[in-house]
């Protein structure tokens, strides 16, 4: 009896447990969640996915974003000539032929040519072809209804001219047929090549990445970016932030709150104002150059006048924004260290410096790591401040990866915006950011193991 009862309860327990393990998903719940999930996907993943797709295209202003057409332009022929198209083939393709056919008549009628004249042309030359426009004009002049003025005559002749050049085709077959027609001597391989290259729309390609991998500029961009991130982070976001936090930690309270607010200003000032302020600060007749002049120091436009000063300007103006972030975080972490620990270290004989180095800094590991990782990511992808100030100059000496991606894709003087290349550059940033995030997350876990986090974010 009792054993069967045990069995029963055992079964009951087991089934209850399995019930608990399998979460119930109700249709209503899903339906309620759907919009949120949709938005989440849209806002978080769509940009990355689109960037990923664009990165593998040669999308640009000239390709447009829609479907392309097939056009052989004189420009294209010149380009192909550089890439091995023979002179003869090029001439053949560019040649103009004259055919008297329905289409020509229709074009001429539309163009307002005298109908009598036209019907004479149709009767007399229907189906004929001419290679030389001048010979055709001569023939036309012989017709009774031919216009007196030579200009009208030439115009009429032009309606019957056909050329592949600059003609837009919606599909490759039409262009192929036309090319074969116009230039029968050109090999079909060459024609296929020309047709392929004549596509005006965007197409999938890995050329962006090949270009990034091979061009010399890439190395410079990487170098600039690394210098920019490392210097801004090390000197300001972490260095200055930590220094200020520690100094303020040892400073009486009223002073502290004043300075904390002061250091927040760069962060809460609109970026444009902040950029203008820096211009005023560093340009020829700005504050710093004038002060420098008083002291007999070199005085010029520090923001754009020399590579070294441009870098210093760029790093400090970004740094002062980031420093406040570090300051706030570090100050919080410092206050979380129990006062008695600091007293204990003093009683133990540690001077200020030993207290900072041996007691405070080791306990700031976690916030330092956090600021470093968070700010690396945001610095890597930030360009606005640079764009608004040095704009990568002088020359391209302060151009960083994100700025280059931005100008390539969205803002440059030539007007040809290379969305594809820009997207490829952005994608590289995304990948680098992801890799760094993963590394940092690992480090955080490690940090958690060694010491419990002082701050809860």
């Amino acid at each position: 009896m009792s054993s069967s009862a045990d069995l029963n309860t055992g079964v009951a327990r087991k089934s209850r447990r399995s019930d608990r393990r399998r979460p119930r998903i109700s249709g209503l719940g899903l339906a309620l969640l759907a919009p949120a999930l949709f938005l989440l996907t849209l806002f978080f993943f769509a940009p990355v996915v689109l960037t990923g797709i664009f990165a593998f295209t040669d999308l640009s202003t000239s390709t447009g974003i829609g479907r392309g057409q097939y056009v052989v332009t004189p420009n294209l022929l010149r380009q192909l000539g550089d890439q091995g198209l023979t002179e003869d083939d090029a001439t053949a393709i560019a040649s103009v032929s004259i055919t008297i056919d329905e289409a020509g008549i229709a074009r001429a009628t539309e163009g307002g040519v005298d109908p009598d004249f036209l019907s004479e042309i149709a009767d007399r030359f229907a189906g004929e072809s001419f290679d030389d426009p001048r010979a055709f004009s001569r023939e036309l002049r012989g017709l009774p209804n031919a216009p007196r003025r030579p200009r009208e005559l030439t115009q009429t002749a032009e309606y019957f001219e056909t050329s592949v050049l600059n003609t837009r085709f919606d599909n490759p077959e039409a262009l192929t047929a036309q090319l074969a027609d116009v230039a029968p001597d050109v090999s079909s391989d060459t024609i296929a090549w020309i047709v392929d290259r004549s596509y005006t729309g965007a197409r999938f390609t890995t050329a962006n990445f090949e270009r990034l991998a091979t061009q010399k500029e890439t190395l410079r961009l990487i170098g600039n970016t690394a210098l920019y991130v490392a210097a801004t982070l090390g000197l300001f976001n972490v260095g200055l932030g930590l220094f200020l936090a520690i100094v303020l930690f040892y400073t009486p309270k009223p002073v502290t709150s004043f300075y904390s607010t002061l250091w927040l200003l760069p962060r809460i000032t609109p970026l444009v104002l902040y950029a203008i302020m820096w211009k005023w600060f560093t340009w020829e007749d700005g504050f710093l150059p004038i002060v420098a002049e008083q002291f007999g120091l070199p005085s010029f436009n520090y923001m754009k006048g020399s590579v070294v000063t441009a870098w210093m300007t760029m790093i400090s103006l970004n740094g002062f924004i980031g420093a406040s972030f570090g300051l706030i975080l570090f100050s919080g972490a410092l206050r979380a260290i129990p006062m008695q620990q600091l007293w204990a270290s003093e009683v133990d004989g540690a001077n200020r410096w030993q207290q900072v180095r041996r007691i405070i800094l080791p306990q700031m590991r976690w916030p330092i790591l956090f600021v470093t990782s968070y700010q690396t990511l945001s610095l890597l992808s930030s360009y606005e401040q640079i764009w608004l100030t040095t704009n990568g100059g002088p020359g391209r000496t302060t151009t960083v990866w994100a700025l280059e991606a931005f100008t390539t894709a969205l803002s440059n003087y030539t007007g040809n915006l290379q969305y594809g290349l820009g997207a490829a550059m952005a994608l590289v940033l995304v990948v680098v950011g992801l890799v760094l995030s993963i590394i940092y997350l690992r480090l955080f876990k490690f940090g958690e193991l060694v010491s419990r986090p002082k701050i809860e974010l």
Partner: protein, 354 residues
């Protein structure tokens, strides 16, 4: 080393918390600073070790005036209430810390030797590799003690070192700390608001109230002969019972509620009609005594080895008695028990002992 506070004054934001305090701790003595919360115990302690600067008076370590020295230069060991161990350092590094910040810095082997020696004294040799987070409260307590002692300080200061421990550990650490203090022969001050701790661990007890030291004496002396009503009321658990009234004729004491008790023989000469209060400790009211008091038991609290009785002798007069466990009486019973009249304490209206 002998420690002296002379006319010591400490203010916070202009208001004096301690004014003109004098205190001497003899060489090798362990003194308890006992008092209610907020009376200035920690303030005194922190001023001795230099965390707070004295606003007046002198602090002497032996013949050395340390009043103006920063805490780094005073050579004191402090155990804080929450131990204040450095969480990022191992036990060994924690203990070594005071040595490693010394200038000139002792050699590695010297530091290791010192750490080992102190760890053996305090019985934590097996914990040296751990971090503070991996220690129990009692172990942390020992590490803090080791860290405070490793530099061989002139004075050891303990700020409520046992407050965070459970009852059993507290008992154990009480005797441990005393053992270590005796073994090292160090001059020590123990801050506590636990009278049992103060009385059981220390040579002398200084009782403090509102920034003033009321009495310094050995535990027994202080318990028997408190200088005033506050001290009498503060020491003793269960606490003393105060009876308000005035002297009457024939060496009697008349309570306001109309009850009479004989006055202690030493006070029989007091003129009649003087207002005083008597203090009756629970252990002096029970089966034996030179006088009797009767009443009804209103409350019984068994405490294991002993029992606590509240006896209502008259409306509003409750006498407390501690006796060995007995079950012949219970709540509601009328009892007549002896009062040890000569051991009763008496205070004048200012609270001073008569």
């Amino acid at each position: 080393m002998r420690l002296q506070l002379q006319n010591f004054t400490k203010c916070f934001d202009g208001t004096p918390v301690i004014e003109g305090l004098d205190l001497t701790v003899e060489d090798g003595e362990m003194l308890a600073l006992l008092g209610p919360s907020g009376c200035g115990k920690s303030t005194t302690l922190f001023s001795i070790c230099g965390i707070y600067r004295a606003d007046g008076g002198r602090i002497m370590f032996g013949d050395r005036d340390v009043s103006d020295l920063p805490s780094q230069k005073r050579n004191v060991g402090v155990v804080f209430q929450n131990y204040a161990l450095y969480p990022h350092l191992t036990v060994e590094e924690n203990i070594a810390f005071p040595l490693t910040v010394q200038k000139p810095r002792p050699s590695k082997s010297e530091i290791a030797r010192e750490v080992r020696a102190i760890a053996e004294l305090i019985h934590i040799e097996n914990l040296l590799e751990r971090r503070p987070a991996q220690l129990s409260g009692g172990q942390q307590q020992r590490v803090a003690l080791a860290r405070a002692l490793v530099r061989k300080p002139d004075v050891l200061l303990l700020d409520e070192p046992l407050a965070n421990l459970d009852a059993k550990l507290r008992l154990e650490m009480r005797s441990e700390i005393r053992r270590i203090q005796l073994e090292t022969g160090i001059t020590a001050i123990l801050v506590t608001h636990d009278q049992v701790e103060a009385m059981s661990m220390c040579d002398r007890v200084a009782i403090m109230d509102k920034g003033e030291i009321l009495q310094i004496a050995s535990p027994t002396e202080m318990y028997r002969n408190p200088v005033n009503k506050f001290v009498a009321g503060f020491l003793g658990n269960p606490p003393i019972t105060f009876l308000e009234g005035h002297t009457a004729t024939e060496g009697r004491f008349a309570m306001d509620q109309g009850l009479f008790l004989p006055l202690p023989s030493r006070l029989r000469d007091l003129p009649a009609g003087q207002r005083i209060s008597l203090g009756l400790r629970p252990e002096h009211f029970g089966s034996t005594g030179t006088a009797q008091a009767s009443g009804r038991i209103v409350f019984v609290e068994p405490q294991g080895r002993e029992m606590l009785f509240d006896v209502e002798a008259a409306p509003g007069v409750v006498l407390r008695s501690v006796q060995p466990v007995r079950d012949d009486v219970g709540v509601g019973d009328e009892v007549t028990w002896g009062v040890d009249v000569d051991r009763m304490l008496a205070f004048d209206m200012d609270g001073q002992t008569l």
